[in-house]
Point group: C2
Chain length 225, copies 2
Amino acid sequence: MIITRRRVLRDEQLFCVDEPFQTMYAVRFGHFKTFRVNLNGERQILGFPMTSDVLGLDAIGPARHASSVVALENSEVCAIPFTHFEQLSADLPSLQHHFYRVLGHAITRDQSAMLVMGKMRAEQKFAAFLVNLSTRYADRGYSPLRFRLRMSREEIGNYLGLTVESVSRLLLRFKQKGLLRIDHRGVNITDRAGMEALATGQTTAEPIASRVHKPPLVAADHQFK
Amino acid sequence: MIITRRRVLRDEQLFCVDEPFQTMYAVRFGHFKTFRVNLNGERQILGFPMTSDVLGLDAIGPARHASSVVALENSEVCAIPFTHFEQLSADLPSLQHHFYRVLGHAITRDQSAMLVMGKMRAEQKFAAFLVNLSTRYADRGYSPLRFRLRMSREEIGNYLGLTVESVSRLLLRFKQKGLLRIDHRGVNITDRAGMEALATGQTTAEPIASRVHKPPLVAADHQFK
DNA sequence: CGCCGACTTGACATTAATCAAATGTAGTGG
DNA sequence: CCACTACATTTGATTAATGTCAAGTCGGCG
């Protein structure tokens, strides 16, 4: 099976909705956004895949890509031809089994996203979003407390179903509550527990000024690459 | 491969979250709801599977069920042992291919749901929900315009992230706009086009009283089985 | 007949969107 | 290197949408 690497520059499109499906992509490094365009012409961001995530799975059913993918920064992917893969997996039970698992995870992940979008209010959604990012960085061996947002406020809002203004105000509120520090796109979570409490809705009447202990602010230029 | 049938009575649980995954289920007839319980103990309904939908796919990744499934009415499913299936699919490329498609569809479906939940407002969400139901009934050979809601208002609201009260008021609004008639749980869509326009957000300033032409109200007891 | 749960309706409070404007930041070309 | 433009972000004032609380109605069922 021929697996090739492909560089994708910032703002470059990896694949586009309705394009015939031939290739899956595993992210080697970098960040992406996946989105769809609804009938009204508006974009809806569906997720922010990063290193080790697999792209293009939603095309397996309809044989055409159901979403578009654009790089948020200069990135690199492995291109895996699907037909080759499918043949090979028939001979390699362990590969097939593993692939089923990947697909299964894709489903569970989407369902979790629905949970977030559906019931939660703005503050909760955003907190859940940050906790999710934090967890994913931890899974990948990066700091769960200090990371850089690769997406704009607008993209966050679009993803969460909020306006840019709301996103901005929520960041301010989190800062005031002593949950995080933020400089441009550099995030420093100072109260992970409080953040999770918010995300899970266990927010009981808010003890106003507590847990302030001020770790140093993140340098503006920190990167993960 | 041993495929068995299983009856599931109204309110009976087909499987439960965290249960080890062994079996997939294809719905033969009937309606179900799938849901999760968040950390706060609240239920979030993830979908309303019906005839020919496949249940339990979200367990393939983690090998444990990620959601619970309960029947909304007396129903029947085919139980398909997953390990048997996995072995068999290795020998039958067409089966494997088909299964990939089913999984792919599950992913796209979930993403569509996210689109609905994320950006839309209450009216739009609910319209999209009804249009979706309508389409699914059409796909299955039933009337897309007259059908019975198997779920309570509360369950609809839970699924869409709205309160029961909002659901109730929205139904009233739809009635007043001449989009549908409703008697208890019997729905009669009288303006499918208008409904779709609402769902897709192409609602331009609402011409107030038009398209009223009053088709006969649905009998209260219509069923699809 | 009367209870109970599902649903509707109304008044009010709260949330988040909208509109509008100011401020900051990153590039770009001189 | 700096001025300048375009864009991203913040902030403020206001409005519309939706949740919350509280009755009340409807229908099914024992």
